[in-house]
Amino acid sequence: MSNDILVFVEQRDGKIKKASFEALTLGRELASGRGALQAVVVGGSVSGLAPEIAKYGAEKIYTVEADKLAAYSGHGWSEAVAAAVSESSPAVVLFAHTAMGKDLAPRVAALRGTGLVTDATSIVFEGEEIEVTKPVYAGKAYKKVRAAGSPFCVTVRPNSHPAEEAAGAGEVVPIGGPEGDLRDFVQEILAGSGDRIPLQEASVVVSGGRGMKDPEHWKLVEDLAAAFGPGVAAVGASRAVVDAGWRPHSEQVGQTGKVVSPTLYIALGISGAIQHLAGMSTAKYIVAVNKDPEAPIFKVANYGIVGDVFEVVPALTEAVKAAVG
């Protein structure tokens, strides 16, 4: 075992995820003064991505390239990453806590017989041991654990650690891919609504609840999100409106939906049931608009406006449009 940190770099169609740059940055900071930052990237043809990965401080980049690995396969990619873990023998393996990272990391951890903490918000060395903090009970409590044995795997919550460049040597080390047939693989990506930024990656999230009264009024929520400019804000929904069939489950924010940590969270007509608060209370700033001054959402909102969403939201949309220009 070394004191190196290995980071899995997630790419689809040659495009590296922002959350992977965040994980690389965190990995570089953890490796500083102890060992080297290493990376592993898997796909059909990925060695061309090395310069981009090196920009974030990777000294060594393991590449696993094979035609059959061109599309994501939890089985194939986990064997590839597990092989890189054996090669690199790091102290810690980091993944971004994305749809892919969530599927991949537990498989890699099982193949290597290691511990794994998912959705971590903090990772530090305490002497020689690594200490990881993660929300449990959907953020109603936080758990701090110490790794018993190494390597230890961690998936890092997106938006919890800003990405920062710092050049590394970026030596490319190709390693062989898995043999045999793949037990599972992605056949097709069914794209969602075009240019919209994913909920968990957005720096601004605008969510609507029952107070929007009717699914036809959802345009108010979407217009406010759009006012922040292209690719900035995502639209979320409370459980009540998802259960009522107004919005798809993929937009639900809360304990049985998605947990988001944007810089700014705007809750429109959401009362703030404990289930919902669990999914958004790590947002840096929370704005709430609700007609009931006693609504629990106002207990967590940095800035609350008591009022009718149908009067306040259009005014807010115009003001944001003017400010963003």
Partner: protein
């Protein structure tokens, strides 16, 4: 077809969570424990699969004797039998759980394992994928749709900004997301029948954690909340705060 559904007893999602005096566990006072909401989708999918193709549905949990209640709920929904792997004391981590479950699954040799996307207490979301890797099976995480045909399966799952369609072979582990199906409610007949269905118990052995719990703490406190005003007139105050205090615009 032999179908296994993995379930867990967890605090209801509307529970207030308080850290107990030991700083390592939660205070169970006033908490209602229920079947993990995502596991309802797993049990429902297991039952639907059995109804379409025949076979047996077994539900399995690792926990204390109180978990019998959640197993009986699954039996009342229509599962044929239940297994309680008894474990009390410090919680097993995902590594330990997957290790003991993989051994049990090799003994039960089902064709399909369904489990919830994650348990809403630990929020680990690991055991299903770990099992697939340990057993050498295929896996679909966070299934939003799932279909079986001729020894293989296809399904879809949410990814950032869209969905992906996945194909795999059997046997498989499927972790179930909300929206996969509409879980049935146990009816009176089901509840009566559940009392007579077999519930087998065995001991968890040789489980070893890879993580050591240091502390459980309340979430970091949020800054003091403030109501800026009423109606559209308050928008100007809000914009000033967003620009000059929060600096997010």
């Amino acid at each position: 077809m032999e179908i296994l559904a993995l379930v867990k007893r967890v605090p209801a999602t509307d529970s207030k969570i308080k850290v107990a005096g030991d700083g390592k566990s939660i205070d169970p006072q006033g908490i209602e424990f229920v079947l993990n909401p995502y596991d309802e989708f797993a049990v429902e999918q297991a039952l639907k699969t059995k109804e379409a193709l025949g076979g047996t549905v077994t539900v399995l949990t690792v926990g204390g004797p109180e978990s019998q209640k959640e197993l009986r709920t699954c039996l009342a929904m229509g599962a044929d039998k239940a297994v309680l792997m008894k474990h009390e004391g410090p919680e097993l981590d995902a590594h330990a759980l997957a290790t003991v479950l993989a051994a049990k699954i090799e003994e039960l040799h089902p064709d399909l394992v369904f489990c919830g996307r994650q348990a809403v207490d630990t929020d680990d979301a690991q055991v299903g994928q770990r099992l697939a890797a340990l057993l050498g099976w295929s896996c679909l995480s966070d299934a939003g749709t799932f279909e079986l045909s001729d020894g293989s399966w296809t399904g879809t799952r949410d990814i950032e900004g869209g969905k992906e369609s996945v194909k795999g072979s059997l046997p498989a582990v499927i972790t179930c997301n909300k929206g996969l199906n509409e879980p049935r409610y146990p009816n009176l007949k089901g509840i009566m029948m559940a009392k007579k269905k077999p519930l087998e118990e065995c001991e968890v052995q040789g489980a070893e954690n890879k993580e050591t719990l240091v502390a459980l703490t309340p979430p970091p406190a949020r800054p003091e909340p403030a109501i800026l005003g009423e109606g559209p007139e308050a928008v100007a105050v809000l914009m000033d705060k967003l620009k000059n205090e929060a600096k997010v615009l």
